[in-house]
Subunit: 415 residues, 2 copies
């Protein structure tokens, strides 16, 4: 790896123009974007991205699943250094989640080509077709998963949209042949660096524009059900109730207090609860609820889950309630490549961009790409930590700082 002593300059006006133009495809209200995979807005956005790659001097092409790539061919042999993120959005989301990483990659490559000419290793920018599961709830990183070759033969017929359509039908409607998805597989990518908005408030709290991401958190979703004895709210004394709402409340407090005490970056959320029969004057029969618990360290993650499960069992036993749970999602943490993290920290310092290192609490395409390449991520500060809403916002100043770190990092990896 070579070092770039030179300051990399990025034109803020061009960055803003590109973000705004891309945000026009699927625009909702003032600042919202609703752009689901394989929709007409999505087609227009990918066309725009391919054209922007070409205008930046990259060789633009589409793969079999609909990802758009822009290639800057290197002078030497060796695997590719790639960067990018997804071009689909929540319904509605904002202008930055995903789209910013795709834009940042092409602008970084444009700047590198202009300032440093042909790289040694081939560089590629990419706009992945799908990451949000906002049209197909079980798409599960459709774009980057195709690149890793992990889409099974029958997935295209089994991934069903909220509107009932298969993802195979959606692909055919935009001229893509689901049978050819395996052709999107890459085995020539050495490193993948993804820039993304933080989607949390940690950078804002730390008063820093940019973070280097050293891991994507591990996550487990439980679906739990706590049952007691349904009875009349008036006739049953407190001391002989088997009230699942009382057990649920104690468990929720216990889980949240545990994660709080473990401290950052542990998080535990009870986001969903369904009470039965859910009448004011009846002691409930049961409460169904979910637990989302995350930690980026494998051992600490398992300790967190064991503590949660012990607490739930203890409360249910003590209160004479019946408790069942199932694990619905269980993803190991995805650590970044330590050498790339070190490189990104170094080039950030060289570029005069103050950074911190943090784990990502959300999932990203990078954790798919980790199956075939060394990965790392760069986070840009989010206003109020908001995302998945039209209110999500990152300043152009922070975005430019992030792109400068990305470009310097890609320079270090490819020149």
């Amino acid at each position: 790896m070579s070092s770039s002593a030179k300051l990399i300059e990025i034109d803020p006006a061009f960055v803003e123009k590109t973000i705004m133009e891309l945000a026009s495809f699927g625009a909702v209200g003032e600042t919202g974007v609703s752009r689901t995979v394989y929709s007409p807005e999505w087609v227009a956005a990918t066309d725009y991205y391919a054209k922007a790659c070409a205008e930046a001097g990259l060789d633009a092409y589409r793969d079999a699943v609909g990802n758009v790539w822009g290639r800057l061919r290197g002078s030497a042999a060796g695997n590719v250094v790639a960067s990018g993120s997804h071009i689909d959005s929540q319904t509605p989301g904002g202008r930055y989640d995903g789209a910013l990483g795709a834009v940042a990659a092409l602008i970084a490559l444009k700047a590198l080509k202009e300032h440093f000419g042909t790289p040694k290793r081939t560089l590629e920018a990419v706009a992945f077709c799908e990451e949000e599961s906002s049209r197909f709830p079980n798409a599960n990183y459709w774009g980057s998963r195709a690149v890793t070759g992990r889409i099974a033969v029958d997935d295209p017929e089994n991934v069903i949209g909220f509107g009932g359509e298969t993802i195979a039908e959606a692909m055919r409607s935009v001229g893509l042949d689901p049978a050819r998805i395996p052709e999107a597989r890459r085995n020539d990518i050495d490193s993948f660096v993804e820039l993304h908005i933080e989607q949390g408030p940690i950078l804002e709290q730390a008063d820093l524009p940019v973070a280097i991401v050293d891991a994507i958190t591990g996550i487990r979703h439980y679906r739990a059900e706590i049952s007691g004895v349904q009875n009349h709210a008036g006739g049953f004394p407190m001391d002989i109730r088997h009230d699942p709402m009382a057990g649920f409340a104690e468990i929720v407090s216990g889980l949240i207090n545990t994660a709080h005490r473990v401290g950052r970056p542990a998080v535990t959320t009870v986001g969903r609860a369904i009470v039965e029969p859910n009448f004011p004057g009846i002691i409930p029969a049961k409460v169904e609820f979910t637990i989302d618990a995350r930690h980026p360290n494998s051992a600490a993650r398992i300790r967190l889950y064991e503590t949660h499960e012990r607490l739930m069992r203890e409360v249910a036993d003590r209160r004479g309630l019946t408790l069942d749970w199932r694990v619905m999602i269980d993803h190991e943490p995805s650590p970044s490549d330590p050498a790339i993290v070190k490189t990104l920290r170094r080039v950030a310092s060289e570029q005069g961009v103050p950074v911190m290192t943090m784990a990502s609490g959300a999932g990203h395409d990078s954790q798919q790409m980790a199956a075939i390449a060394k990965v790392a991520m760069i986070f840009v500060r989010s206003k109020d930590g908001r995302s998945h809403t039209p209110e999500e916002f990152s300043s152009i100043e922070d975005i430019v700082a992030g792109i400068r770190v990305l470009a310097a990092g890609l320079h270090a990896l490819a020149y």
Copy 2:
């Protein structure tokens, strides 16, 4: 009041036969009953009740709202001593809730007439037409409320069934004229004694067949809403969340612990909760919930509510959450007449029926009747405290014990 030294005998076989025959109207499965006011099953049940009154030697008649009365005329002037309960049911409920009190009244009067002849005061048995709100959610004690003259002129058009029909339409469909409801008003009732199943487990726990009810509990329903800041479950550290689920859980535990610590007969129930947006991976924006809190002592009731409200405010303030609530229902406790309670305790002892005194945690027709008469209630032990279900059950032995106390009490009041 005269005392009855003589043991009153009640034929268990006749009691069981009458309960089972009445339960055949609207029978559901083995032991269930679904009999809503003004339904064909209800018409058949009231016909049966009127016939049973006549066979018992009572003058049977129906009032303008559809209550069925059976009168045993007294020899002296003076207001009436009445007993009874409602003949409608939950959908499905069991054989005993309400129906038992109507049956008990007519069997008690039959026994008194057979053993003691004509009373001084006129005695009446009654089957009120509606108490359960199981067809019309805002019927609000339709039968007994008509007797107290508290049904407003426009109520018949404003009480709407789950099926969209007005209670006026339902009355006309069974030959009753809603305009004549005021004619059901009574101003000649001195005392009203209602026998009912306990609907709770207190007698079972105390190993006693019968209780004398010294008050019907006061009840308040709150509808509350606690709001925080919706955010991504992965991106937001625990220490800076405004998670309304955490506040909700702490409040529920606090309310339940408070009622538990206050001790019997205080009860507090959170039976209903709605989470928004209710997704596993999203810190909720808000939780709506209900609080049902009851106490039969006026001052203790208010102290319970003040403690609850103080706790809710404290939790919300400390956690940076927004909390609003509205009081949806607020009923004062309805104390029984102390002299009748004393009489019932005395005659129970004379009849050799061991009793305890307790408050009713549920609402009953008696609390309506208290507006025009001195009231008291007799509870019969419920198996497992169950009610509002086909599983509700009271043994014939316990029921006979309850009817003997009722009959002896009516004897003391009317002979």
